[in-house]
Symmetry: C2
């Protein structure tokens, strides 16, 4: 029976019981963290052999003849480009390899657009007065933080499990030339776990923005991060070409959740014109990124299949964690009618929708009980969830026993917040 | 006897003889390169043990308890900060560790200033109309390329072996608030090899710029790159503090010419206010730089002494190359009165001054003979050497036998260009 069907007395009694339970938990002084999408140590151990790939005796010459220890090679060594070309399904000529952070590549792309404009664009974004980005919500807080820092106005776009509401996206970009971009995490979206449907990707590929300098920031962070069978994402790079829209997408990915989160390799894939434009400023910014780490990754993984095998090992470690969270939600929350949640088949997050107006309360209750969640509102532009209903759950980092305890506490907090709302 | 003292007939005869010699060299179809300041392979071999520092069994936890494989730690691990603090003579709290490129750190500092302004500055540089940088010349082409890309107007400032002409620097910054910065390579300047005198550094520390958002870009790329006895540079960080000018300097360095040029670690040292300002935007730009490479470097070098010992080994390799070039200049050019050159005690370059108006001609003659030099003009803003007299010589990369041949050709070209001028 759902809480809503309880009598007032039943609700009050239930709340009293739960608060008692909560009081007992407070005494335990827990210190549990489900706040960030970090791999746990045993996932990092999977790539331990990366440390052994290059030794003092190794040949460190890249396929195109460069000593990877020395200066040179702005856009990455060919064997590493091929690795990313393989998992992204793009020609290796359309890949630039960056440093350890794809977020940094995105930040740099946007600052370059602000300062110099994009390929084919008339003026730098920063010289066009107010400009805007579309932000499918809930989304990735660090994307939104870039826009906020740069003073780019953000417009929320609702999403479903098929991706952003494309009617809204198409209408807005067609009518407003000050809209310069959209943030997308097309596969296992952060935080909903949604995989954009073929129709969604096809509509992105066919987009007709009013702005001639509009870009789709396609953060394919979870391209190969399947928990079960690999799920296919339609290839935006290929699709966009069919519509003469090859300059629209800027595609990003990294090995951060494949090898080492803090010491992986990132990549940008884009059209010839975009790549040429990026390399122009990038060649002033740096002589080149760390080629030894590129070489390590290329030799360790060999090809896309090497990466996919590694991802199966990651899935074995984190799948039970996702399942533990979802089991708790199904058993404890589903019957009460007080929450909904995504059931992702990959990625790093579960999105939990609690009753409207109670997400912040749940966050606070959990925090006081020693369970750190991503702050309510974080997955929204400016940190404001208009419904105050979304919570991003990150199950991967804590050991499973801690995770199980944390989820128990979380479910209790969700119940308390729901009942508080009902009895008030 | 100098060429100028030759009779016209003697000059013509000499030129004919040299052209004959040059013709013979053309037939050899040489392919020699003295164009870039790159270490040679045996210098990179000195750091081979860096590959063995981290193994699959290594403890990869930083001193402050972070797993260096995972996300986290924006500004660098403490053991790596200490390493740079040691060689720069600054507190480790005033150090930020970057990626593999200090050029990238400089580029990012300037773009941040363009977009957001500097600590204590009223407005972003990019919103102040025309802004300017002082550029001691000859200088580092990649510094100037950043200004050119960003549309920052560059003003040449003459230099001596004591550093920039400080009368000019002081006068210009005091009268023009649109001057926002100056590029300095204070030790073994690129390309003159000059080490700023104590007086020069002290005057920088006491500078009174009209702009409240002026910064000294202090690229201490060759901080420990001595060819003979270590040469001391007065500590600008400390000196500036004495004048309440602690926010003026932004100090950069890297291990690019200590460990691996393409895969080292870079650092920024600055005042508390500057560091806080940088971290604010940097924390949006990235989750953090590659901590495993920081850990490798910190554990391999241990401290500043470890670095200084390594630099002695570098000096043993490249000192004979500098000496071979200088010997050729002394023997072949000095008696003819047609050139002057720096005699650096460290760094990566020799600056050669040929007769006014003949640097381009020398570059072309050398190029046709198969000897690649840095293009004449490169060490000047906009690639324009007003005197057309400077050539930057990079002796480190070619093997010594190739270098010797290249210098022979270079001297011949200098002679031909000088005589062409005299007989015309």
């Amino acid at each position: 029976m759902s809480y809503a069907q309880y009598t007032k007395e039943q609700q009050v009694a239930q709340l009293a019981g739960l608060k008692n339970e909560y009081g007992n938990i407070l005494e335990k002084k827990l210190k549990l963290d489900m706040s960030r999408g970090k791999p746990e140590a045993s996932q990092l151990d999977l790539s331990a052999e990366l440390f052994a790939i290059l030794t003092p005796e190794s040949n460190v010459i890249s396929e195109n003849g460069f000593d990877c220890r020395n200066y040179g090679v702005l856009d990455g060594i060919p064997e590493c480009k091929r690795l990313f070309a393989d998992i992204l399904g793009v020609p290796k000529e359309n890949v630039i390899i960056g440093g350890n952070s794809s977020l940094n590549l995105m930040f740099d792309e946007i600052t370059r657009a602000m300062l110099f404009g994009v390929a084919g664009g008339a003026k730098p974004w920063g010289q066009q007065g107010e400009i805007k980005f579309l932000c499918p919500v809930p989304g990735y807080d660090r994307h939104f933080a870039i826009c906020e820092l740069l003073g780019i106005k953000m417009i929320n776009v609702p999403t479903t499990q098929d991706g952003p509401d494309m009617d809204t996206v198409e209408r807005l970009v067609a009518e407003d030339a000050s809209i310069k971009g959209i943030w997308c995490v097309p596969k296992y979206s952060n935080p909903t776990g949604a995989v954009y449907s073929d129709e969604t990707v096809a509509r992105f590929a066919a987009l007709k923005p009013k702005a001639d300098d509009f870009r789709i920031f396609w953060d394919n962070a979870y391209a190969v991060h399947d928990l079960y069978e690999p799920v296919a994402l339609l290839n935006l790079f290929e699709e966009a070409k069919k519509h003469g829209n090859e300059d629209l997408p800027l595609i990003f990915t990294s090995t951060s959740k494949i090898s080492f989160s803090g010491a992986g390799v990132s990549a940008l894939a884009a059209s010839d014109a975009n790549i040429a434009r990026t390399k122009k400023a990038m060649g002033i910014q740096t002589i080149g990124y760390d080629k030894l780490n590129q070489l390590r990754h290329a030799r360790y993984f060999v090809d896309g299949n090497g990466i996919r095998r590694q991802m199966e090992r990651h899935a074995e470690i984190i799948r039970p964690k996702f399942e533990a969270v979802l089991k708790a939600f199904r058993e404890q929350l589903a019957p009460l009618g007080i929450a909904e949640w995504s059931e992702p088949k990959g990625g790093y997050f579960i999105s939990l929708e609690v009753k409207t107006g109670s997400a912040k309360r749940v966050y606070e209750l959990a925090k006081q009980a020693g369970v750190t969640l991503t702050p309510a509102g974080a997955p929204f532009p400016y940190g404001v969830d208009p419904e105050d209903s979304n919570l991003r759950i990150s199950p991967t980092y804590p050991p499973i026993d801690e995770l199980t305890t944390a989820v128990e506490v979380l479910c209790l907090c969700v119940k308390i917040a729901a009942l508080e709302e009902l009895v008030s």
